[in-house]
């Protein structure tokens, strides 16, 4: 960090003429915010010593303003002396309807002022303060700025460019206040962090309290109900150790009951399985996940998303596979439909929650490769499934045609009853369905003829 800050500041402030705040600097070169403040000062004084007025600064003053009249001088910060509940015991006098005949005790309130000021007004503003508890450079610019509001672009930049760090770990490098109690749920499709995994995490465990959080927390606490796209779009990530993911992959494999079969067949269409295994292996050798956000939707066929180009799988392969195995698909679809019907009754209760997530799913819909697996967490099944959707559009001749197309749809529903129950309901439904569709036609006609 020795001189990188000088290069960064010179490039940004002097060459590009863009403002930089201590906060942005600290994130750009990964130093504590308090050091960043000092770096700004160092740079500011050096540059202006070389060439006056070459760099302009804004200052931030914290302290107590002069207009504040405190009863007890300077030790008012603790506030102890301001506690005055001296209003006499409550008296109810008959003629007065208002409760406080005497003046109620207004509390004298200490006030801390935080003022952002340009260097031109620094001295003047400082004079307004009775006591300055801290002062530092807030930002540097290439020249005097008229409107301080432009400094907010720096925080925008932090939001866009430095967002992919784990927010719960930033305190270590950047020096914001650490709160050991805060937990953050992980992405929707990522399995819960097993305790072993958190030990294997690339970053050292910060504090015992932190590492124990995931353990003590029950599984559902880590489940993120939100859509995976949040993480994908925002680029934010949680350190998601691959090892852990593959562990839980096995776990969830064993856990998830029959319904999984449907999606497994789809997976075989994708021919992604061997690759997935390769990917797993290669990842296991490199414990540090290169791009965390890529890992969010991991489960059985994790990895294949990274290896096979998603689009190809999505459109061409899936389509080809579909055409090639039309018959099988047909039977499959029936099964799917049966599944769907079967699922409906327990859906409505929770549908509310999930439907609100749906609009946010944009990003994940473009990555269907991660889709055909189901995660069971906290009594809810989540995942994506293929459904046939009717798409209406104009063809070349200008006619409106309705086509049936396979589309992916995310779903989340109450976990089905234990394994054994599953096969039973599925089949009866599908057969019942077949009967129904068969019977009305045949039976009706037969009976019609019989009657006649």
């Amino acid at each position: 960090m020795a001189d990188t800050y000088k290069e960064y500041l010179a490039a940004r402030v002097i060459n590009d003429g863009r403002p930089v705040t201590y906060r942005l600097l600290s994130r750009a070169i990964k130093v504590n915010v308090n050091i960043a403040k000092q770096m700004l000062y160092e740079f500011h004084s050096n540059q202006n010593a070389k060439k006056p007025k070459s760099v302009h600064a804004t200052y931030l003053i914290t302290g107590r303003k002069g207009d504040f009249k405190h009863t007890n001088g300077t030790n008012g910060r603790d506030g102890e002396d301001t506690l005055m509940q001296s209003s006499p015991p409550y008296m109810s006098s008959i003629p007065s309807s208002m409760p406080e005949p005497e003046e109620p005790s207004e509390i004298v309130v200490p006030k801390t002022s935080i003022v952002l000021v340009r260097e031109e007004e620094l001295e003047k503003t400082k004079a307004e303060f009775d006591e300055v508890t801290s002062i530092h450079i807030y930002s540097l610019e290439s020249g005097p700025i008229e409107n301080l509001n432009i400094l907010s672009v720096c925080n925008h930049e932090i939001a866009t460019e430095h967002a992919n760090e784990d927010p719960l770990e930033q305190w270590r490098t950047l020096g914001s206040i650490h709160n050991p109690y805060i937990k953050r749920r992980v992405a929707k499709y990522s399995p819960p962090l097993p305790a072993t995994a958190s030990k294997a995490a690339p970053k050292p465990a910060p504090k015992p309290s932190v590492t124990t959080q995931p353990k003590g927390n029950d599984v559902a606490g880590l489940v993120r109900r939100g859509s995976a796209s949040e993480d994908n779009t925002s680029g934010r990530s949680t350190p998601q150790p691959t090892v852990g993911a593959s562990n839980t992959l096995k776990k969830s494999d064993s856990k998830v009951p029959l319904k999984r079969n449907v999606s497994d067949i789809f997976k075989s269409f994708a021919k992604a399985k061997p690759k997935a295994k390769e990917a797993e292996k290669s990842k296991e050798t490199t414990p540090a996940p290169p791009e965390d956000d890529q890992m969010e939707g991991m489960s059985e066929d994790e990895g294949d998303r990274n290896d096979t180009p998603e689009v190809k799988f999505d459109d061409e392969k899936a389509a080809a596979a579909r055409k090639a195995r039309e018959d099988r698909e047909e039977t499959l679809r029936k099964m799917m439909e049966a599944d769907d019907d079967d699922d409906m009754p327990d859906a409505p209760l929770t549908e509310e929650n999930d439907s609100q997530d749906a609009p946010l799913d944009k990003a994940s819909t473009s990555k269907p490769a991660e889709s055909d697996h189901v995660i069971v967490q906290g009594g809810r099944r989540r995942g994506r499934r293929r459904v046939m959707k009717k798409v209406t559009g104009k063809n070349e001749d200008g006619y409106i045609v309705t086509k049936e197309e396979a589309a992916w749809e995310s779903f989340s529903e109450a976990e089905p009853e234990p394994k054994k129950h599953k096969p039973a309901p599925v089949k009866p439904v599908s057969t019942a369905k077949g009967k129904k569709t068969g019977k009305p036609g045949q039976g009706n006609i037969a009976s019609f003829f019989k009657k006649s």
């Binding site: 308090n34 050091i35 000092q38 409550y90 008959i94 409107n147 805060i182 749920r185 993120r224 949040e230």
Partner: protein
Amino acid sequence: MVSLTGNMLRGAPFEDPAYLPSRAPSAYNPLHTFDLSRGTEKLYSQQYADMYFLRLSQLRKAVIERAKDAWGDFALGEERARMVDRVLDVRQGELCWVVGTVYMEMGLKPNILDDISKEHWIAAPPPRETYASGQDEMMLEDESGRLRVTGDALNAHYVTGCVLAALGTEQADGTFQVIATQYADLPRQPQRWERDDSELVVAKKPKPKRERAGKIAIVSGLEITGKVDDELALDLLLEYLTGELGGAPDQSKTTKISRLVIAGDSLSHSSPILSREDFAIKKSGKKGYGYDASAYNSSPTERLDFLLSQILPTLPITLLPGASDPANVALPQQPLHPALFPQSRQYANPPVKSNESLEGLDSVTNPWEGDIEGWRVLGTGGQTVADLLKYVDEVETLEVMEMMLRWRCIAPTAPDTLWCYPFQDEDPLVVQDCPHIYFAGNQAKFGSRIIQGPADQQVLLIAVPKFSLTKTIVLVDLETMTVELVDIGIAQAAA
């Protein structure tokens, strides 16, 4: 002048930053007093009359007790005051007292018939600052009927919906001349940690050793518009709360803040029911059906989400909706939906799992009640106070808040002039437990006061100013119950 450690105006060699203690823990135990039942159990077909009946029946006993204490042996000349059960049983010339609900007949109070006729006016009158018109009448009603009341003792300090006992005589013209009034006054106040301790006893766990409590920070009225103008103040607020701003002495003070409470109006112009002005603007725009992506501006919500998600890694937040937030408009407003916060909701428990998040983002109702550091805290987004202020002249926010607690009803003017859910079986707006801290958000200016009740209850009242106007954060020390202010200023260039 500048304390040594706080002066960061020094360059190389860079010292290692001072050790910053971790954030103080927040003992937090929310109540769900104001949660409405969901789905089909939430009915709007009931009559509001039930609410007044409920309120009267819930408060009658307490009011009668208070009145008996005060007027039990009150006599005027030879005549002793006598309690009358129903307002219509009052007899002319007889000294008596009666309990009823106040109803104010006010000239400028909104009237549905006026609203309808307004549709035919060329220009609608401006929105009302006050309902008082000069020839207002006060009445006392119960299930039997109404009694017109007059008297100096009233002093125009009562509003529709509060329950009180009035002592007086009926005049020749049928009005009830009031000499004095009594109200329920503060209810029982729980001990500190009472609820937490009783939960522990039920769970058969030993009482934990409790550390010295930290502070809570309360802001309200962020009124994020998504425009550039308010960005910088929000940035400074964020940096202050995360402890990045300032020097070591100020930063370590910030670590004492253990929770942020946002008391309503985080977004501006986001209420599902548009104000008259917003409606006019929208009406003049192009007409169309369905969702219009060009008309919807998502930047305020995104900005709020970003702000919260930046604060949350270091500070838990309790978020109340307010009048201008995208929640339901009728009190009690239900929690802001997590779908509004795609990023920050990762710090909240999923709604399917739990309806509260002890650490992280807790999106709660308005009004809201809960235990923070063992103290009972009651807070609102401020609509109740604002509406009550329209009934009365020359009364301050803090007085209004005090009276609400003493009347034991935090929204007396609902359902008369304030939208409200038609409660059927119980009215949660009636205060059951006296809070230790009662705050109202979105007030014009800051104020705080300690009031005391007949049984040594002490309540800290806080009027939280709008952040968008005053740039002020209110800090409450939960050990000493002292209040501090933090004021964020941006010195613009002298013109």
